[in-house]
Symmetry: C2
Subunit: 464 residues, 2 copies
């Protein structure tokens, strides 16, 4: 054991800073200070935003997003990230830290980087735990029952906006094919996190419409992965790598079916094990081991970690421990999930909406077109559901509208490939922002409209 490095062994003591002036230790201590302060601001933003929205009858999650915008790169710069062009000098948090603690410029650099990475990881754990919770609150049998309908919604919701968007950009805006296809592809995404959270908030997650939306959003996530792989390889090599696409489709199908089948097979063993355990947190930790393991598997086979967490939640929902686990996961979700939504808001740069910036103008015009296609394309998908007249089809379509972080990934890949002009890139980002922020209140309105009789129960279920 290299003894010189033991000074960093546990970077917990502030005294090291005064006493030994060990650079690494000082950083370690200030990193945790920076993380704690970030969490304080994130929680303040989420609670203030959420409470305001709850009072003016908007979904609290919209308040968390807006709270994130306020403390993020657009306004206060309290919670900012290197990825969005921030640095220690522009970070208000780092300025507060250097006012309250001794902080050299070099130390500020590394503390800012580590703190940003830590908050990003906490926010990613947030969306993983959110999808685990959503899986736990979903009904596998119901999901399978609505599977064909969800598949229609997902497929139409991918094809309609993609075709309309790409064609419109080529024929109306005279864009070259590659950027038009990219922008069209960005229109296919659905942010499962935002929709699922709103559905849970208004108490419609386990409704038939809710389960169709969740099923379609999960399928859309997989379709999105495939669409992006296609578009990106098209932009890069000019041709489509068929093997890659087949691999993605097969691995996604195998994973979801395999995880659920294997999970159901192992469930009795799992329950037996938990019953036998004697230490604190036996159910919670055993479930999280399962959830995190599936998330890891999904991640390394090129799918998304959230799909694994969702599958794990779905399997555990079938067990007799469901209610107990749901109760225990609530505080964990309350801890982590706001970090995700506030960070989504904090990373959103509203400057692209400013028409005073000349370079934004062309983008804003294209954006207006993309927004219309984005909303109509998904609403059409909702009406694509066959049979059953009683379904609130408008609500299903609206539930698919928010693009969230998934849409921005398209913009990012497009920009990185060099295929997008700044105007198209701005347009995609504006479309993502508008659909993301407009969907939660819209979703609430259409659910109320369609099922006014249930309105009574809503006001109580949101107060929980």
């Amino acid at each position: 054991m290299d003894n010189l490095t033991i000074a960093n062994w546990f970077t917990k003591t502030s005294l090291l800073a005064t006493a030994a002036e060990g650079e690494g230790s000082e950083n370690g201590t200030l990193v945790i200070a920076a993380v704690l302060l970030s969490l304080v601001f994130i929680y303040l933003a989420s609670k203030i935003g959420g409470e305001i929205c709850a009072r003016i009858n908007l979904p609290p999650v919209l308040g968390e997003l807006v709270g994130g915008v306020v403390i993020g790169v657009s306004l206060l710069h309290l919670v900012v990230f290197p990825e969005t062009g921030s640095n220690p000098e522009t970070s208000t948090l780092m300025r507060i830290l250097s006012l309250t603690a001794d902080l050299s410029p070099q130390a500020a650099e590394s503390i800012f980087a580590t703190e940003s990475e830590a908050i990003t990881i906490l926010s990613e754990l947030g969306v993983i735990i959110l999808l685990f919770e959503i899986g736990l609150e979903s009904d596998l049998k119901e999901l399978i029952r609505v599977g064909p309908q969800a598949a229609i919604v997902a497929v139409v919701g991918v094809i309609a906006p993609f075709a309309a968007g790409t064609a419109g950009l080529i024929y109306i805006f005279h864009l070259p094919a590659i950027p038009a296809i990219f922008a069209g592809a960005a229109l296919t995404a659905t942010s499962i996190g935002i929709t699922a959270k709103v559905l849970a908030e208004i108490g419609y997650l386990s409704s038939k419409e809710g389960q169709i939306i969740i099923g379609a959003a999960v399928l859309d996530d997989i379709l999105g992965i495939i669409v992006l792989a296609v578009v990106a390889s098209l932009a890069k090599t000019g041709e489509i790598q068929v093997t890659n696409i087949i691999y993605l489709i097969v691995s996604a199908a195998t994973f979801l079916v395999g995880a659920i089948l294997l999970g159901r097979f192992l469930t009795p063993f799992f329950i037996g094990l938990v019953e036998e355990m004697k230490t604190r947190g036996q159910l919670l930790i055993t479930s999280l081991i399962f959830g995190f393991f599936l998330a890891y598997i999904a991640n390394v086979i090129q799918l998304e970690a959230i799909l694994g967490a969702f599958a794990a939640g779905l399997v555990l929902a079938e067990t007799e421990k469901r209610e107990e686990l749901e109760e225990q996961i609530i505080p964990i979700a309350d801890f982590f999930v706001p970090i995700f939504f506030v960070c989504v808001g904090a990373k959103t740069n509203l400057n692209v909406l400013n028409p005073a910036i000349p370079s934004n103008r062309e983008g804003l015009i294209i954006a207006a077109f993309l927004i219309i296609v984005a909303i109509i394309g998904k609403v059409i998908a909702g009406f694509g559901v066959f049979g059953q007249e009683k379904l609130n089809k408008l609500a299903i379509g609206v539930g698919m509208v928010p693009r969230g972080e998934v849409g921005l990934v398209f913009a990012g890949v497009g920009a990185a490939s060099g295929a997008l002009s700044p105007a198209v890139d701005t347009a995609i980002i504006v479309m993502v922002i508008v659909t993301t922020f407009v969907a939660p209140p819209l979703l609430r309105v259409v659910f109320r409209q369609g099922t006014a009789s249930q309105e009574e129960s809503l006001s109580t279920s949101t107060d929980k």
Copy 2:
């Protein structure tokens, strides 16, 4: 917004790795995979270790420590850290990752660094939340009532091992004054985390003995900060900086008294606010804002974050929301606290215990002396409690024995200052390991001995 950096905007999609081959995004995706896999191993180690210990009638926390040793730098290298001399090549986790996912050597370097930092931060949040929970389960009035006794235990527990250790090293082992003083200082520490966890596990946290131990451990933490500042400045400049010491004493006293007074004053306002809130997690998040803020303040005024979290828990325990909050904090603690204990174990390098390594031998002899002084010094402190014959004084002393991470910080600062020979440094580390791992079972034995009548209730309370 620099559009090129949006590829990193949300580093969530694995598809970026295949599609765009964006280096940053690929790393982001694999970082979360690495963190998820680390958590799976950490939880497996904590549960397997904890369950085995629970079955052979040892405290589960010892199992978590040993589980950490098994997966850590001493054995499996699954959860290792750059601070303990590990790198991507020696990390089993990184090898698994490179087998299951595409991983270039450069990427491995940065993923390993980020993953280690993330796990370190999660484990630090773990001890902060543990102390928050301990504060919540403590009784401020009882702590104030036992204050004088706790002060005696803390002061005697600092002076006795320090004096005996330093004198013994100088007169028996003929060490120079500075290293002898350093080793003596390392003997003064107490790991509040380990003791508090064991007390909670055996159901003695709210006993009079338990509250004296907690009070003394908190005071010991503050005394430790002061002792280390004194010793380090002595080693560095050869003289004691009186102003620094006065600053530390005044700030510690002001902080603890101020936090508690201000907290009690603000409590009715806090409860009123929580009552008014309508969104999920209102009590938990509002409490965590308070706890994390105090932890941040404690950290930046050169105290320790855990003192702030403890003070926050103590204040909130006085409110009518105590029980509700305790219930909600349990899953959060179940999530975070094992990460802390497993990491303490994982960072412990048992190689220093190997007498086959020649350079360890001199250290092991000195270590034997230090261990005896470490245990006797704290046990004497327990018997220093005046009055009340009924107290289990042996248990109080034993409760102060584990040095844990605090003791290793002394070794680290000593090594960094260059004042310690390798033998003395090894001796300190061995002393810390032995006292840390021996205290939990010892504590359980002495509590049972002293109060055999309560034994019935124990077996049930540990099963929770």
